[in-house]
Assembly symmetry: D2
Homo-oligomer: 334 residues x 4
């Protein structure tokens, strides 16, 4: 940590800061400049809580060099982590994992047909939401436990491992009974209690980036799960909120190589939620793989026009089959 | 809702959309323009789920006129709602309610002294966090139940009603036992299950705006609580996330008069979290009242330099006493 | 400047950075930490160009302590600067200056009547646009030189100094002939050549914040003008671009006290462009004064329904007269 | 355009709006809903200036269906436009054009060597800045006319067409003498007078997206150039400003396919300015081509560590040669 003093800071103020740093069991190294003094803080083993320092008179700002995460950092764990979910393996030189399926679980036919379609096209995992986070309380909220059973049956029928979203802690036993991987959605990325409990299950977790989460916050959220002894975390970029409204969110593909540099965890991309427009999904999915994503999560619905949720961004079976073929030829050059 | 067709849409495509609208039990009114056709949708009693429409061929976009909330809207409930919490009353022509206290509950002395200070200066309610949402798992996470008891004791000693944050559903019984008002924090604004359960308690709720929540989403989150039969909701603007990093968040004061126009619920402002800088808190607190806020929530700590959390934005007792005096003279002209 | 090395940086890499700093004529102070080494850079008289350093192997990041401006900083010029424009004086303990008038200059009658109204209500300066920046080329682009003459005549008739926007360098002679203060609009805040030429005129300048400009960039833009020997710069906050679309822009009132701490220049607020909604203008104008603004710029039109530009955010004469009365009572408590 | 009335709007207010629409020579179609009335506006040939309407009592909002641009829209010009600059052709089924070279022109050796390197690696055009937009006035501002001559000489020596940025109108004659294509930078995207004058030259123009420009504003800026009779406009996505600071800007690749759907103009991507980090440039450049970009603009410097500007994001000759080889194999599957 670096402490920057106001250029008007007195000797006494600087002295008090030095003493405060030492009281924290750390070393303080004054760096007198021509305009102002800065003070380097040494000896910390990680992120320093700077509260007591920032409050001292004469302090202009503190600048953190260490980050609020450690276990997920590549600095401390240089080898890439592979996360296995049934027959699918994310990361660490495995081919990209394609998760596909409808936004929400609606009927048995829809799920069986959806699973059949995506399996036939070559998908590696099946998705489907039983508990749905919806902006307003008057929209369809998902089938709940009944939906979980339909998802499991469709996964079994097609031979695909399944992932589904958990919204509250009490749902964990039921979801762990029926699913192979737990998804924490963007709106819950900083629901820290949920992260802890999800971590404790030991299940593989798909953690979506919050819509206004910085990379640092995203990795710190993953740290909550890993801190419970569960390093089976797959990150998922799904677009961030910006001033631009031409797409549902702004897909931030640069984070893929950036996260792979900063962390050992795998990262996949969800081009469906990021763009919100069907015609953009395949093209941005391909761009994501080129950017180094360890997989994709794509919404596919047997009949998008009848989808109860997010139909406008769902691919048809035909769209998805075409995309899978294009991904194949792309993989050849990656 | 307005459906805008592509300028290349065929008659058959337009016809199919008209039929789809009618199949939803609504009326469709074609509006042929010189460049393209639009279709007005009539007869809906609220927000229309446009999924099936947006997917039809020839549709460029759908534009919502109705909103995803209704119960919190002033359209349907023209009179302002007053929310009472013990001796404090928010909104509907009552004087602004000042909530003050430390960010987190740390010790008995800190809470008793903190409560004494803010009561003496004229605060109406006491705040303090027992369960703390922290970006990373390695920071102080709050005292939990023990903290709730300290908060209650400090409230009782000072005669102030108390508010504290709930982070997970299981905490509700304990918090309802010790607190007078439940706070849902910014990170949980779209934790919809928590909103529902908080609604069911019937307790007054302080709902903070998510850091990237639009006004529409903010009101739709409140709708979740009110839809459970609990209209004792006080909204709280606490700054939004933008590109500007000179302040912790960007305080969006314009939403105060805007929300008062759109909704009947009271709205208060938290200048401490919004700005993150102590010297900005009093001045922005005053500006908030001028903008029409029904109250303020201000972090006050007997000794900010020793605060375990957010000390840099906490006022001292002296700062707060001065602010309360300034607010008094300001109220005279409001 | 602080240079942070990767935790894997070798001794040789650190050594090369130390030498590079010294080659720039500065001192390098290594700060060996338990996880990584940082290097403090001393001896610089201002902002350091870090290009050569950031490129060296082993460097993770550079952190600037100095800012890209100096002349506008309060560090170097502790006394507040007052900017005089005819009878109006901005800043340094003078009462707030109220600039009012129509968005664009349309007709002689409109300007004379507009000037009469705002003068009678107590405004200090008259505004009006002769050259208009419009998003698309098919909108009304302003009356040009003819408009300048109408503005001057209206200013003379009412006894108010006038301010108008300059969009291109060639307009400067004409504008300097007819106006008392030059406005640089938000879209031109980083039109650096325009800033330099505006600086050379020696005229007072009203510099609006760019819609996505950080405070640092805003002050650095002002530095361009002051660097030409012209310190008659009045800053103007007019809202920034964020994800929130309920208002035209997000008015960032916290920058008012923040800029007054960082810079000696006056700062005013434009609530009309910030909010884009007439009913929000008076309330946010009052909040701005409470936040410490040295003045306001308000759009007033004798007949907003007939305005060629921005009518929806223009006050009527009656609205404005009421606002001025409210500002009077507010000033009593400031 | 759709006019949405408040649900409390009276018959008289609705009637007044209908009359106002008709007074504009357009047709008004009332759409009475169960909650409120909306009014469709028909007969307009493009974007409607809604000022007079929005101001009328009882109007809640106006919703635009038409856009503030027309000439650049694919609706009105379905065939893709190809833009030729010497031997390079952008768009309309031509292979991607790779523009490469240093951020700023520094010395004759640097330019000749830079041009030689990029030509040898297979670049199609040479870039280099003679006039540099810098945040603060104390940074290197470019070599000016002298730089233009060095650029021309390097272009001639290597046989590559050259592009350089224009910052002010007076520079146009000199730049048109020495360059083959004019670049308008992000900070000047809404410098409308510059756009008009650039349009009048008839030269090919590279128009960079403003850092907070919406797609609609970006296309409307291009419309300014095309409205002068010059349709040789190549758009360039270079990242937008968001809350995320891990990259210099947030590269918004989804706009590439989106713009290609909305407009007939070619669009390229600048991964150097978007990311600001050298190691991200090749990977995001490849992703951009997969997203459908008609070309790339990449910063390459013979010796980035000595670059006077943006060295940290410049590729070395070796990096660039590797990137070009990777692009070749990628093109095989596109």
């Amino acid at each position: 940590m670096l402490i920057v003093m106001h250029h008007t800071a007195t000797e006494a103020q600087i002295d008090r800061v030095l003493k405060a740093v030492e009281a924290m069991g750390l070393q303080a190294e004054p760096i007198p400049g021509s305009l102002r003094t800065a003070i380097g803080v040494l000896g910390n083993q990680g992120y320093v809580d700077d509260t007591t320092i920032r409050n001292l008179p004469g302090v202009r700002e503190t600048i953190h060099v260490s980050k609020p995460y450690k276990l997920v950092s590549r600095d401390f764990h240089p080898e890439s982590t592979a996360v296995q979910v049934g027959s699918a393996v994310f990361g660490a030189d495995h081919p990209p994992v394609i998760i596909a399926g409808p936004c929400s679980i609606e009927t048995e036919e829809q799920m069986l047909e959806g699973a059949r379609i995506v399996k036939q096209a070559g998908a590696d995992m099946l998705r489907g939401g039983a508990f749905k986070p919806r902006t307003g309380p008057h929209s369809f909220q998902g089938l709940g436990i009944e939906g979980l059973k339909l998802l499991r049956a469709a996964g079994d029928a097609s031979g695909l491992p399944v992932v589904t979203e958990v919204m509250r802690i009490e749902q964990l036993p039921a979801i762990c009974e029926h699913a192979d991987m737990l998804q924490v959605g963007a709106r819950n990325m900083q629901n820290f209690d949920l992260l802890k409990e999800v971590g404790k299950t030991g299940f593989p977790v798909l953690l979506k980036r919050g819509m206004s989460a910085t990379l640092e916050e995203f990795l710190a959220a993953a740290e909550y799960i890993v801190a419970e002894g569960n390093n089976k975390v797959v990150l998922c970029e799904r677009g961030i909120r910006t001033f631009e409204k031409a797409t549902r969110n702004t897909l931030d593909l640069s984070v893929v190589p950036l996260i792979k540099q900063m962390s050992h965890l795998p990262i996949i991309v969800d081009p469906s939620h990021a763009t919100g427009k069907r015609f953009l999904v395949p093209i941005m999915g391909k761009a994501a793989l080129v950017a180094g994503a360890d997989g994709l999560m794509v919404e596919v619905h047997p009949d998008p026009a009848k989808a109860l949720c997010d139909g406008a961004q769902s691919l048809t079976g035909e769209d998805f089959t075409r995309l899978m073929a294009e991904l194949e030829s792309l993989k050849a050059v990656l």
